[in-house]
C-alpha cells in the first residue's frame, strides 16, 4: 500500500515536472496571466483610487465582492469550530496549559511585546494602502498578540487583554461593517460596494480610497475575532 501510494505520487511528480517546462518564466511581462485585466489594473489603479499599493486596490476595490465572500467564509469557519467544539466543554476546568505560568521573564517580555505588536498591527491595517499588509494581515497580528497573552498570562489573566465572550460578536461586527459599506451606495442608485457613491462629500478617487480603508477595518475585526474564537474553542471547549 505504501509502495503503491509512493509510486502514484512519484508518477504525478514526474508529470508535474514535465509540465513545468512549458510554463512561462517567472515574472516575464508577456505571460498569459499578465495580458488582459492585469494590465488595466496596473495602469488605472492609482488614478482610480489614489492608492499606490495595487494589491490592496485589487483585494479591496476591484474584487471587493470576492473579499466579502472570503470574510464570510472566515466567519462561517469560526462558527463551525464553535459548533463542533461546544460538546467538548467537559468538566469546566481550565486546562493546565492555560494556567498562568509563574515565569517572570516570559511575563515581562510578553507585557512589553503586546503593545508593540498591537501598534504594529494597527499600522499594518491603516498603512495597507502604501505598504504590504491590510486587514487580513493586521487582524492576524492582533489575534496573534492576544493568543500570546492567553498562553503566557493564562486564561483568567488575559481576559483583561481581550475577553473570550467578545471574540465571536467581533467577528460578526466585522462582516456587518463590510456589508454596510457595500449597501450604502445602493441608496444612491449605485452598485453593491461602489465606493465612489459613499455620502462623504469627496472626490471619487478619495472616496474609493476611504472605502478600501473601511472594508479593511471590517476584515481586520473579523479575522481577529474569529482567530481568537477558534483558539479559545480549541483550548477551552467553548466555555
Amino acid at each position: 500500500m505504501r509502495v503503491a501510494s509512493a509510486g502514484i505520487l512519484g508518477a504525478f511528480l514526474l508529470v508535474l515536472l514535465a509540465a513545468a517546462g512549458g510554463m512561462p518564466a517567472f515574472g516575464v511581462p508577456d505571460a498569459p496571466a499578465a495580458q488582459h485585466v492585469a494590465r488595466y489594473y496596473l495602469e488605472h489603479a492609482y488614478h482610480d483610487t489614489h492608492t499606490p499599493n495595487v494589491v490592496t486596490v485589487m483585494i479591496g476595490d476591484y474584487r471587493s465582492f470576492d473579499t466579502l465572500g472570503e470574510v464570510m467564509v472566515v466567519f462561517a469557519a469560526g462558527l463551525a469550530c464553535t459548533l463542533l467544539l461546544l460538546p467538548a466543554a467537559g468538566d469546566g476546568r481550565v486546562p493546565r496549559v492555560l494556567h498562568r505560568k509563574e515565569n517572570l521573564i516570559a511575563e515581562v517580555v510578553t507585557r512589553l511585546m503586546l503593545p508593540a505588536v498591537q501598534i504594529f498591527a494597527l499600522y499594518v491595517v491603516f498603512h495597507g494602502h502604501y505598504s504590504p499588509g491590510g486587514g487580513f494581515q493586521g487582524g492576524a497580528l492582533l489575534a496573534a498578540s492576544i493568543i500570546l497573552a492567553r498562553i503566557v498570562l493564562g486564561r483568567d489573566g488575559s481576559q483583561a487583554v481581550f475577553p473570550t465572550r467578545l471574540a465571536r460578536p467581533l467577528g460578526g461586527v466585522g462582516v456587518l461593517v463590510y456589508a454596510a459599506i457595500g449597501i450604502i451606495p445602493l441608496g444612491a442608485g449605485g452598485a453593491f460596494l461602489q465606493y465612489d457613491l459613499l455620502p462623504l462629500g469627496m472626490a471619487p478617487d478619495m472616496l474609493r480610497n476611504w472605502g478600501i480603508l473601511g472594508i479593511e477595518i471590517g476584515v481586520a475585526l473579523t479575522v481577529m475575532g474569529i482567530l481568537v474564537s477558534i483558539f479559545d474553542d480549541v483550548s477551552m471547549g467553548g466555555q
Binding site: V97, A140, A144, I230, F231
Partner: protein, 81 residues
C-alpha cells in the same frame, strides 16, 4: 546565487513537510509544520508576493501552530496510526 537559495528553500520545504507527515510525536509534527509555513513565507517574499508571505508568516507559522499545540495539549501527544 539567488537561484541556489531558492532551490535550497524548496528542498527544505519538501523535506520538512515529509517530516511533519511521518513523525509520530504530534508536538514535533506541529513544529515541523510551522517551520514549513515559515519556509513557504520566505519563498513568497523571494517571489515578490510580500502580502501573501506576511499572511503565511503570521497565520501559518504563528497562530496555526499555537492552535494545534493547544489541541495536542488537550488530547494526546502520540499519533496512533
Amino acid at each position: 546565487m539567488i537561484e541556489i537559495v531558492i532551490a535550497g528553500l524548496f528542498v527544505f520545504a519538501i523535506v520538512i513537510a515529509l517530516v511533519a507527515l511521518e513523525i509520530r510525536d504530534l508536538l514535533a509534527a506541529t513544529i515541523a509544520l510551522s517551520t514549513f509555513s515559515f519556509t513557504a513565507a520566505l519563498l513568497y517574499v523571494v517571489m515578490d508576493a510580500v502580502d501573501v508571505g506576511f499572511n503565511e508568516a503570521v497565520l501559518g507559522a504563528g497562530v496555526t501552530g499555537a492552535i494545534m499545540i493547544m489541541a495536542v495539549a488537550r488530547t494526546q501527544r502520540r499519533s496512533r496510526d
